[in-house]
């Protein structure tokens, strides 16, 4: 098992020392931050206050908490996937720069090599997501803090599952790549598209009905929703405490994807966890099978 330990260490060092890999992985979260800083935060804020019942007043910190919660929810949801993809690009880089050939002439088992990439990608992504979460929580603490310790633990658990999902998905896709061009194409595609289809850039509720139905088949959507729900649970709780109409709260939840519907049926909190966890495990099993079958056919 020492070989796995050293492979993981090597892969993590490569990710953090390779400026190309590291900074590429931060592009999507950075775009998201810029979007929020420039206009999204204001759009959400004004859309929320304009739709309040007449004469109803809400504390500024509660509105800020709502917008801030959405920001870190979106930020973390995309980071779990895009950072995993970029970090896992090392697997492909090693193929075309000869490092994999150099490693495979040693008596290291193929399964250990695959596990080395998987664990390192998981570690790098989880570390970056935890840092992003920390930074987001600091930001929220300044603008409107309604998060409990339990919410933070649930956020970490959700991140853990989402990072496994991102790592498994990227491992399967990167398994088939072997050139620099393919790496760039997939990297760009994931960075630009994933933020939209998971509802990070714009809530899914703002999309057309057809697109909403199509997106409801993607498990990542539920992961994004779970992160948002955990980040915003305290805000909604506070709304209830201030006698905010339940109907209005549900409408807000619908508008920012905290409620998701699969063909008009509301998907429960537990069902979302079951979907994302089950899908992550399924992807992991597929990746293991791909590696073992590939070894036999080598």
């Amino acid at each position: 098992m020492n070989d796995i330990r050293f492979l993981v260490r090597r892969n993590i060092k490569m990710f953090f020392k390779d400026k190309g890999l590291f900074f590429t992985s931060l592009i999507t979260p950075f775009i998201l931050l810029v979007l929020y800083a420039t206009f999204l935060a204001n759009v959400y804020k004004s859309s929320f206050t304009e739709n309040l019942p007449k004469g109803f007043k809400v504390a500024e910190s509660l509105i800020n908490g709502l917008v801030g919660g959405q920001l870190i929810g979106s930020l973390l949801a995309v980071s779990c996937i895009t950072v995993a993809f970029c970090s896992n690009m090392l697997m492909v880089q090693d193929k075309f720069n000869g490092a994999k050939a150099d490693i495979r002439i040693s008596p290291v088992k193929s399964s250990h090599l695959a596990l080395g990439y998987f664990l390192a990608t998981f570690a790098c992504t989880f570390i970056i997501c935890l840092f992003a979460m920390g930074a987001g929580l600091v930001y929220i603490s300044f603008i409107g803090w309604y998060i409990t310790f339990g919410d933070i633990l649930m956020l970490i658990l959700t991140l853990f599952i989402m990072v496994i999902f991102g790592t498994s998905l990227s491992s399967i896709i990167n398994f088939f790549l072997s050139s620099q061009g393919q790496v760039s194409a997939v990297g760009s595609l994931v960075s630009s598209v994933y933020g939209f289809i998971c509802g990070a850039y714009m809530p899914i509720s703002t999309f057309g009905k057809g697109l909403q139905k199509a997106i409801s088949f993607l498990p990542g959507t539920y992961g994004t929703s779970l992160i948002k729900q955990n980040a915003l649970r305290g805000v909604f709780e506070e709304m209830k405490n201030t006698h905010f109409p339940t109907k209005e709260i549900e409408m807000i939840k619908d508008s920012i994807d905290c409620n998701l519907y699969f063909f008009d049926n509301k998907v429960s909190f537990a069902a979302m966890y079951a979907i994302i966890t089950g899908f992550s495990l399924a992807l992991l099993i597929i990746y293991i099978l791909m590696n073992s079958l590939s070894k036999k056919n080598k």
């Binding site: 050293f6 492979l7 490569m14 490092a99 050939a101 002439i105 040693s106 008596p107």
Partner: protein
């Protein structure tokens, strides 16, 4: 026991016969040269020996171990220096060596001991903590050798180790190889484009389109596939040469006479001692061997 023994090895990629029924033996401690153009089958054969590519048929033994059943033991016995850099450019030399050594089960105190010996061997002190990607060509090559030998292999495979290197770095590579052979008795399996490198080998196999077209010691191959040349510098009357039935060619200031071998050259000299005053005998070259064995010319890595 042979260091490497290959029997009727075949590897096809669709219609392409990359390796087509090759058989060879590499003796312990030998410098063995595998000569051929790009696509001749050299790298495919190496990949099969190292267990990174599956063969279609045939048998391969390394130090008596069968690659079909004992590949992990074989991998411990082999070190490779690739043509291009295969180490991690962002990592320091010591990080590279540490991560690769761990794959052979060498870490902790064992690694510290091994790196000390490797350091003495290749004088890596000044580059150990520098990123591999920032080293000069010669320094990188030294580190490549250090990586190949980090687990003390018995066989060193050099896959075109000097292609693309400047003359100074090429000299450095050969100094290292000579030192390793003298001090450690390593078996060296060399693939190369360079004729002068193959000429230094104990045994040479020439590959063409996946097949062995010639093999033997450099001297044997020169005897069989090349000619010695007698160069005569004084002004010789060509009519006399014609009368004596000597085949010759006039070049810049001298006359060139081809001789099948050194005995024949000596005979020509003796028989014509009255007209040859200033002369020299040039031994046949590996370039001629390659040309006559394959019908192709190979120079410095390029097919002419």
């Amino acid at each position: 026991m042979n260091a490497i023994e290959i029997k009727n090895l075949k590897k096809y990629f669709g219609e392409v016969k990359a390796v087509d029924d090759i058989s060879l033996k590499v003796k312990q401690g030998e410098l063995f040269a595998f000569l051929g153009l790009n696509g001749a089958g050299k790298s495919t054969t190496i990949s099969i020996i190292c267990g990174t590519l599956k063969k279609d048929s045939g048998k391969v033994f390394v130090n008596g171990f069968d690659i079909d059943t004992d590949i992990d033991k074989i991998k411990k016995d082999i070190g490779i220096v690739f043509q291009g850099s295969a180490l991690d450019k962002p990592l320091s030399v010591i990080e590279n060596l540490r991560s690769r050594a761990a794959l052979y089960g060498i870490f902790g105190k064992d690694f510290e001991n091994r790196i000390q010996k490797i350091n003495e061997m290749f004088e890596l002190d000044e580059v150990l903590n520098r990123p591999y990607g920032k080293l000069s060509g010669g320094q990188k090559r030294r580190v490549d050798f250090a990586r190949a030998l980090i687990h003390s292999p018995k066989i060193l495979i050099l896959d075109e180790p000097t292609t693309g290197l400047d003359p100074q770095s090429r000299i450095l590579v050969w100094k290292i190889v000579d030192k390793l052979r003298k001090e450690q008795g390593l078996t060296v399996f060399l693939t190369t484009h360079y004729m002068e490198e193959a000429a230094e080998a104990d045994y040479v196999v020439i590959l063409d389109s996946g097949k062995t077209v010639a093999d033997g010691t450099p001297n044997f191959l020169k005897e069989k596939y090349s000619f010695d040349t007698l160069k005569v510098y004084n002004a010789v009357d060509k009519e006399v040469l014609k009368q004596r039935n000597l085949e010759f060619k006039e070049e810049n200031g001298y006359i060139k006479i081809k001789a099948k071998n050194i005995a024949k050259a000596k005979q020509i000299l003796i028989e014509n001692a009255d007209i040859f005053d200033d002369f020299e005998i040039i031994k046949g070259k590996m370039d001629d061997v390659f040309l006559n064995a394959t019908g192709k010319v190979l120079q410095g890595g390029e097919q002419k």
